[in-house]
Symmetry: C2
Subunit: 596 residues, 2 copies
Amino acid sequence: MSYRAPVEEIGFFLRHCTSLPQAMAEGRSDLSFDLVDSILEEAGRFAAERIAPLDRVGDTVGNRLAEGAVTTAPGWRAAYAAWTGAGWNGVAAGEAFGGQALPCVVTSALTEFWNAASPAFALGPVLTMGAIEALTRHGAPPLQEAFLPHLVSGRWTGTMNLTEPQAGSDLAALRTRAERQADGSYRIFGTKIFISYGEHDLAENIVHLVLARLPDAPAGTRGISLFAVPKILLAGDGTLGARNDVKAIGLEHKLGLHGSPTCTMTFGEAGEGAVGYLVGEENRGLACMFTMMNNARLAVGIQGVAVAERATQRALAFARERRQGRAAGAAPGEMSPIIAHPDVRRMLLTMRAETAAARALCLRTADALDRAERHADPILRAAAHAEASLLTPIAKAFATDAGIKVASLGIQVHGGMGYIEETGAAQHLRDARIFAIYEGTNGIQAIDLVLRKVPLAGGTVAEGLIADCRAAAADVLALNAVEFGQTGARLSEAVDALGRATRAMLDWAAEAPEKALAGATPYLALFARAAGGAALVRTALAAHGALNAGADDPRLMGRVTLARFFAENLAVEAAGLEAAVHGGGAVLEADPALAL
Amino acid sequence: MSYRAPVEEIGFFLRHCTSLPQAMAEGRSDLSFDLVDSILEEAGRFAAERIAPLDRVGDTVGNRLAEGAVTTAPGWRAAYAAWTGAGWNGVAAGEAFGGQALPCVVTSALTEFWNAASPAFALGPVLTMGAIEALTRHGAPPLQEAFLPHLVSGRWTGTMNLTEPQAGSDLAALRTRAERQADGSYRIFGTKIFISYGEHDLAENIVHLVLARLPDAPAGTRGISLFAVPKILLAGDGTLGARNDVKAIGLEHKLGLHGSPTCTMTFGEAGEGAVGYLVGEENRGLACMFTMMNNARLAVGIQGVAVAERATQRALAFARERRQGRAAGAAPGEMSPIIAHPDVRRMLLTMRAETAAARALCLRTADALDRAERHADPILRAAAHAEASLLTPIAKAFATDAGIKVASLGIQVHGGMGYIEETGAAQHLRDARIFAIYEGTNGIQAIDLVLRKVPLAGGTVAEGLIADCRAAAADVLALNAVEFGQTGARLSEAVDALGRATRAMLDWAAEAPEKALAGATPYLALFARAAGGAALVRTALAAHGALNAGADDPRLMGRVTLARFFAENLAVEAAGLEAAVHGGGAVLEADPALAL
């Protein structure tokens, strides 16, 4: 099944549901939609033609580790070289080091395309972009000058080295240590696990961003520093010199993402330590890492969207070809394509609606990041920053859960064929399953949302977003168009449920944090149901307006149908989710020895 | 992680929530609970000690096909020999051919244990038991005498040969043909795919039950006949003779269940046809196959329960060991076991509650089958038969969806470790994913429910089951015990929603079947939410009564907590599901070219 990037769909969203047109009009962006469209077209073509064909060999052949060196799957080196050669690695980076500084809404669309073509392939650049972001914001100028041009071009790649066996979600527990050297550099000693692209043969060098503790550091997360540790050290003239003491000693055997090498890394195994350079200030490493992680969280959400899109395209193509049974209205004796059967249509519409809602929330988050970065008004920049902070955990968790759900439905649409690996549907589920775990499990996202993000500014950030959702519901109610069915009523109910649950969360976050924790996951899901539904309604209203203005693209009515389907079938989960937010009693009161 | 069969839990359910005590009291069963307990204990021990250790080698090594012969994974032959040697294969079969004729509620518990230990191993016997059932009910006496003693002992195994490349869910399309022979036997020609245990080295012989068409058969499903086709023919003296012309020509490469050989089978490839014997009447094969499939559907539901139970045990053990972060109340500087974190507890309680509800619905279905078979009163037998017919698609679809959901949550509880294959959590998801597809996809189950089962007897069968659920809700409301929290109110709301949706379904099934089809899947899920919640409430009320009577087993209060958690957090999905039952408008009205 060939992949087709949803260029038109995203172009429509960028035009009607983001601040990009305003930024263009106000001269804050020198982009035009002609240019944006051609970037999306070109990237979509590259993803489909050059990357997608490599996904399966990555899955079946995977990576080999021998004598500390990882060999990627056949064809991957050439594809990576072509991809960086075309300049795709530097689209998000600043212009000072060779990047194109495209807005996040555009680079997010590109991130989706690469990940839809092959999430295992695209994961490497996601990490490199995170490293670029961390060095750009927190690196000292000499470090930036030495590393950033190579990372931006993609000649080098970057990694995030957080996890240790005893320190997964809880970074306070990490033990990797750093020692100060007389020349201002540091020596790093320790072992890190689950390091994506920790070692590979795609690039000349790898910059590991490593969390470690100085000998005199305070305990806990306030004693963690961030270091840049290159695989190969730079000689005095800036060329690649000696090998640093950092090594891959193992590759994980994973459920999916087989094409991505997940390494166990040792630092300083030979005795004198791996040479590292401080990023940011000593003991402030977690803040620097969070710069990287927040962007990575959005990128992981987009991975969920990407695999959902791919799984949906695959299932749709199958459902149009495969004939079984006779649907209502089919001629006697004729088998119908299974897309004609209502239950199959429900699955496919669910896949499309979840994918579109997840994409809309991710792009909405990206748009908030763009406004936080580029808006002329500092007050609006700050407001946009708060908005992005609140939306990030929702986008990450909702979109990755959607990725898993949609990939699983994709298998179901295929029937028995879906269980056969050669069909390709099963790989999407295997690949997507990690997205809900890495870059902070979705449970961690929910906790971040209820304890830190919803209480921001006394709850006003959350309330502002809820007011936006309510306005979308009011607009569709006011339109009173029969094509929208019960969309307005169902979305209003979801938004009301979210409003009530948010007030409960604000009370609990202050006074009974355990209750907030017990209801965190259904609360996040409830937020996504309302905000996702509202985002689809905004898109649908724009499409409806275009239809009324005489446009005749059939995809416009498709957007209305999708928003309606979401509101009537998925946003309606809000009632149960609101109840579950309050259903923590059994969670908290049960004696674990009894109930579990 | 070692498996521990839930012997006490099932024993409690059999005593308090099935008709088994009544059957014992009325002398319809010569079992005692002492005997039942010892059967469960013994089977649980066998499953844990002899089968569970083989599950992983089945997954990693799988099966090899060479020259038409399949070699199973190391250790599997010896385990199967020990298992049949201990008599476990014949527990359900009639006594006439060496079986033990245990009630279905007891054999269902055993089926769960084998499948929890290794679903790939236990799938073979599920199919053999289906073949025994079909031959017992529909086979001519000479065929029964020739085949049944071997199938009951497990020296031979059985298969179901339905699927062909163009005929998956739609059996009307099948093309395998059968030709009458002068001696009363038949010759079979054709190819079947996805045949579980179509070829293997565990048993002396394999009896394939094959659907095929006679040359003069009517088109469609009324022209299908069922044949028994042995791998090895019997010589005149009843001993194994010549090889029949049936052969495995391929093994599928699947997402999971690697230990189970899934074969492509050819019949009559050499030219003269594979020798087969008619089962039942010509052109009535589908009815015979449905005998086999209905039992197999319940067994597949139990596979879902089994993998859910195993995944839950594994996640619980991990959550008790793994320490990350500090939970409320923990000493400063101390890491807490992750089971102490509310969000992890919510996941674990969800796993336990879904598993218990799915088990309860499967055992309730098994109990209806027992009453249908053995009750003294023919009117009650007929009522029980109708009840089992209605419950079977719900038990199959709900329990298999639960298996997938619980296995996926199990990965999530493990965090990054869950994605590593060696941990074992990922295999459960890979294995469970097929349960929602084979023996009739869950979509087919939902269609069966709304078009055939709910309308049974004018809807009175469904209404009777709903009345049972309402009574459970009323009883817990009347008890008014604080430990139950909002259980009664939440369950009542779910039952009311089911009642309304059922009335809509009855109208639609008669007058607007497309609407019934469009709402079928959420309707089935709604039924399971109400009936599953009610079944857990019944168990909890029995436990509460025992506590009030002075019992002090802590597991009793655990049952109350679990019912409460289900009602307050999962049964509350009923509102959204009811809305989705009515949300088919977008499904039916959308022009596929636009919306999809």
